[in-house]
């Protein structure tokens, strides 16, 4: 119903698709306004490339043990061994190579789990918000019950029950975090549904399915994109927590959380085994978060100061 007449009739309350297209054209200028989107997005992109090309970038085999070379300090220390830039852990494995390979697990979990949670949460939020009635009551009750579980405890429990593996970690995050999307999408849809342009579409004889798909969904997409970016940061943390507790991928495969847990054991002898993966985890979480918040500001001018 991209009727020009309609747009003229309700200029203030007609966020139709033409608006989205106009916004896209303004994208370069808007990114310049929010440079952190570029910086954070660049960091995430770099991390994705590192994860994909880990085999070429990593100076050593992340699993290769050499007990003669255990707990070597980082390169700037006089005791350091050339070729081990960030030192080695208690089994003589190269810390930098393990961090590089660890990004594979982190990035895989971030993207797959966030998209999974986003899909389920968005669909349930759309149905619950748009159709109301029984579906809304059922979904809202389910969200209430879900919110009463401590998320960290539930994720540990789920992975313990499913057996520690990459897919269990992803399933656990999807099962727990779909509510984040569902709640926001539902309230967004309820808000959209009450705007004049939806009433106008009804008056013009549009079916409910058409209104949902052509009018409401496009207006919910930006919010979902923001949530996706934030959820990726959360997923990276949850994976780190699980591998810290020893419940992520099969042992031996490097994960940041697993490295941090190993480093915790020898923190007084070799702080670098603990500190470097922690720094990388910190930067990654910060990047996803800044990307999400930067996108939010771009999409919603009202949240800008």
């Amino acid at each position: 119903m991209a009727d020009p007449a309609m747009e003229g009739a309700h200029p203030a309350t007609t966020p139709v698709r033409g608006e989205t297209r106009r916004r896209l054209a303004r994208l370069p200028a808007m990114v310049a306004e929010e440079p952190r989107v570029l910086v954070a997005g660049g960091f995430v992109l770099l991390l994705v490339l590192v994860a994909i090309f880990a085999g070429w970038i990593a100076p050593h085999d992340p699993q290769a043990q050499d007990l003669m070379l255990n707990t070597l300090p980082p390169a700037w220390n006089p005791r350091a061994e050339p070729g081990y830039l960030l030192g080695t852990d208690s089994l003589g494995r190269d810390v930098l190579s393990r961090m590089i390979y660890g990004s594979r697990v982190a990035i895989t979990v971030a993207f797959v789990a966030a998209i999974g949670a986003g899909l389920i949460g968005t669909v349930l939020g759309l149905v619950s918000g748009f159709f109301g009635g029984f579906a809304d009551a059922a979904v809202s009750r389910l969200v209430d019950i879900w919110m009463a579980f401590p998320p960290v405890l539930l994720s540990i429990l789920l992975v313990a029950v499913l057996g520690a593996s990459l897919s269990s970690v992803i399933i656990a995050i999807v099962v727990i975090d779909w509510t984040r999307f569902c709640r926001v999408v539902r309230s967004e849809v309820v808000q959209q549904k009450n705007l004049d342009y939806v009433d106008a579409a009804v008056t013009l004889g549009a079916t409910r399915g058409r209104i949902l798909w052509r009018e409401v969904v496009p207006n919910v997409v930006p919010v979902v994109l923001v949530l996706l970016s934030l959820e990726m940061g959360i997923a990276v943390i949850v994976e780190a927590v699980l591998s810290f507790v020893g419940l992520s991928v099969a042992s031996g495969l490097p994960t940041w959380g697993g490295m941090i847990a190993d480093g915790r054991q020898i923190i007084y002898q070799a702080w670098w085994v603990f500190a470097f993966p922690l720094c990388l985890l910190f930067l990654t979480v910060l990047a996803f978060n800044q990307l999400g918040n930067g996108l939010r500001r771009l999409i919603d001018p009202l949240s800008r100061r």
């Binding site: 019950i145 405890l153 540990i156 313990a160 029950v161 959360i234 910060l286």
Partner: protein, 337 residues
């Protein structure tokens, strides 16, 4: 009267329903997955007869709905069964560990409120000067980084780089204590044993701060926005015209009104913080229910897991009810909702 009886009844029924839902989801989750729960219960090398006996002991030879009915009947009477790994009463075990977690979260809440409110007032009084912009930038960082990462960073910073705080436990074992309750901090203060209190506090400071920082960031953001709205209101502008100082307007007038939305949100976020104790207690080897929960899962201690998750669910729901009640108390317009 906080709420009308009908509203209170409706709230209580919703809470009971949610708690029941938590119990159902946990119970079936632990049993529907193949190989469970017997696989989670048996020690390696158990014989067929052992398994059969164990099954009968826990009523696991019956159908799952019947099992749930038995469990529910016992739970309503306050009997949550016996922990498999410690052979102790689940409720007793939780009651023993719960005070440590309550003290930790309350300390974290106090720190978060102090930091959040202090920073919000500071940044309001010094807008467009350097303290204000520093607060804004630090807050972006605090909002982004979760308690897990803070806890690990503190271990590195205050435990190793500048070793000023203990990184594990609740009290130095050399300090003998035979306390009557689990509220070690509170009891040592009441008994005027300030040496023990100081030691307990030094153990609690890092985990409490890690839990407090994300909450403080949320409090700061919401309170600051509310203060900005309030200081733009007619009454604040009028007070300014009549010569009242900015400090007095913010602290005496605007703060009170701005606290209503802030406290409501603090309550909601407080439940998230309670969930965060699970991993933070683990990192610092702090003997609360969060640490107990991870032990229970690692040891595949089914009755204890069930009891602990229900405890967390109950705490979440109680906090939410308290928040709603206090919201009604603070904002009279909502009392008859």
């Amino acid at each position: 009267m906080l709420m009308r009886p009908l509203v209170a009844l409706k709230t209580a029924i919703t809470a009971a329903f949610t708690l029941f839902g938590v119990a159902v989801v946990t119970f079936f989750l632990l049993r529907i997955v193949p190989g469970n729960p017997i696989a989670m219960m048996i020690a390696p090398g158990a014989s067929e007869a052992d398994i059969a006996r164990l099954k009968a002991d826990y009523g696991l030879d019956r159908s799952i709905p019947v099992q749930f009915w038995i469990w529910l009947k016992n739970a309503v009477r306050g009997d949550f069964g016996t922990s498999i790994s410690t052979h102790r009463n689940v409720l007793g075990l939780i009651a023993e560990r719960l005070p440590a977690t309550i003290e930790l979260t309350l300390l974290a809440l106090v720190i978060a409120l102090a930091l959040g409110i202090g920073a919000a007032v500071l940044s309001m009084l010094s807008r467009r000067r350097w303290p204000g912009s520093v607060v804004d930038n630090v807050n972006g960082l605090l909002l982004a980084v979760p308690d897990f990462v803070w806890a690990l960073a503190f271990v590195l910073l205050f435990g190793v780089a500048f070793p000023i705080l203990p990184i594990s436990g609740r009290v130095d074992p050399r300090l003998s204590y035979d306390f009557a309750t689990g509220f070690t901090l509170l009891e040592s203060i009441l008994r005027l044993r300030f040496d023990i209190a100081a030691n307990v506090l030094s153990h609690m400071l890092m985990p409490a701060l890690a839990l407090a920082l994300p909450l403080a960031a949320v409090i700061l953001r919401v309170l600051k926005a509310a203060l900005e709205t309030e200081t733009g209101q007619d009454y604040a502008v009028l007070a300014r015209i009549r010569g009242m100082s900015r400090l007095r307007i913010v602290v005496q007038e605007a703060l009170r009104n701005a606290m209503i939305p802030t406290l409501a949100l603090t309550g909601v976020q407080f439940t998230f913080m309670f969930g965060g104790t699970v991993i933070v207690e683990r990192i610092f080897g702090y003997p609360g229910i969060g640490n107990l929960a991870i032990d229970a899962i690692v040891n595949r201690d089914l009755p204890l897991i069930q009891g602990l998750i229900l405890t967390f669910g109950l705490i979440f729901i109680v906090i939410n009810l308290l928040v709603e009640a206090s919201f009604a108390l603070l904002n009279p317009r909502l009392r008859h909702g």
